[in-house]
Symmetry: C2
Subunit: 143 residues, 2 copies
DNA sequence: AATAAAATATGATAAAAATCATATTTAAGA
DNA sequence: TCTTAAATATGATTTTTATCATATTTTATT
């Protein structure tokens, strides 16, 4: 469903949503370890997210990555699309050019409705919501 | 969701379900072309399926691949598991060791129920059913 | 101004997945 | 029994994805 990079992106972003703010920036090494992703790899991913303004960063001493007030409203789907692009998640299970109920592949009716529901949820769920969920112990941020 | 190989496996198997029987065997070249998959590649996949008795084959002249009466009851999930293994489709979106509602990752509640429903459907839908669907024009076998 | 601590940009390497190729085995038909 | 048409087994190559490394830029602190 997601590429490895996107999984890492989500994990890292959630980590930031839980553990950072404009005046509690987090340095790459301190993100990489708890989410169990190689430092150089997660660095690249965070740079891409930062470039698209989905997370925030500042260079230099006392710098680091963080989730600004605005970033809190970023939706999971935005993270996914930033890394995987929009095509991957929306494409037909059997590789028709497009997944279209007017010209459905043989598996379409088995999955489309539920898949759309999931995609909608990813599009409406913000980092802030999930961070609250994690903080209250209802879900766990995996390593 | 599925690997490329699994997609091809499903396409090829459905093609056979629609176009073959014990006395209408189909040769590799005649499968590869309509489903738009390289011959040598689909050959390898069909061989794997045949070895697991999900499809049938005979060697030599007049030989080829086909779907036997028994094979008609094969479920889509069996094809998927034969190629991708059982782990891939069942694994946690964020790579927890296992996807478990008792120890859910942050995305679990957004997807689990629907994902399970889809997996169940793949497990209960047979080649025969989908072949009928295709024959009646309700869905299309993609190239 | 100099230093150092951070992200950023860029590219190199390694691992996995997808694709291609070919020699071997089997069985039908002449 | 010989030839030929098919699957089967095995392995090589290519492409993609994941991972690692490093030089550059920016900015806070001294
Ligand atoms: S057309 Fe294939 S999943 Fe929708
Ligand atoms: S625990 Fe992650 S999807 Fe279920």
């Amino acid at each position: 469903m997601f590429s490895n990079s996107t999984k890492y992106a989500i994990k890292a972003t959630l980590y930031l949503a839980v553990n950072s703010s404009e005046n509690e920036k987090v340095v790459i090494s301190d993100i990489a370890k708890p989410i169990n992703v190689p430092k150089a790899y997660i660095a690249k991913i965070l740079q891409a997210l930062s470039k698209k303004n989905l997370i925030s960063s500042t260079k230099g001493p006392k710098g680091g990555f963080y989730i600004s007030e605005e970033n809190k409203q970023v939706k999971i789907a935005e993270i996914v699309n930033a890394i995987d692009g929009e095509t991957r998640i929306n494409s037909c299970l059997l590789s028709l050019k497009e997944c279209d109920s007017g010209n459905p592949c043989s598996l379409h009716h088995l999955v489309y409705k539920e898949k759309q529901l999931i995609i909608e949820r990813l599009g409406s769920t913000s980092l802030e919501e999930l961070a609250k969920h994690i903080k209250s112990g209802k879900s766990v941020l995996p390593l």
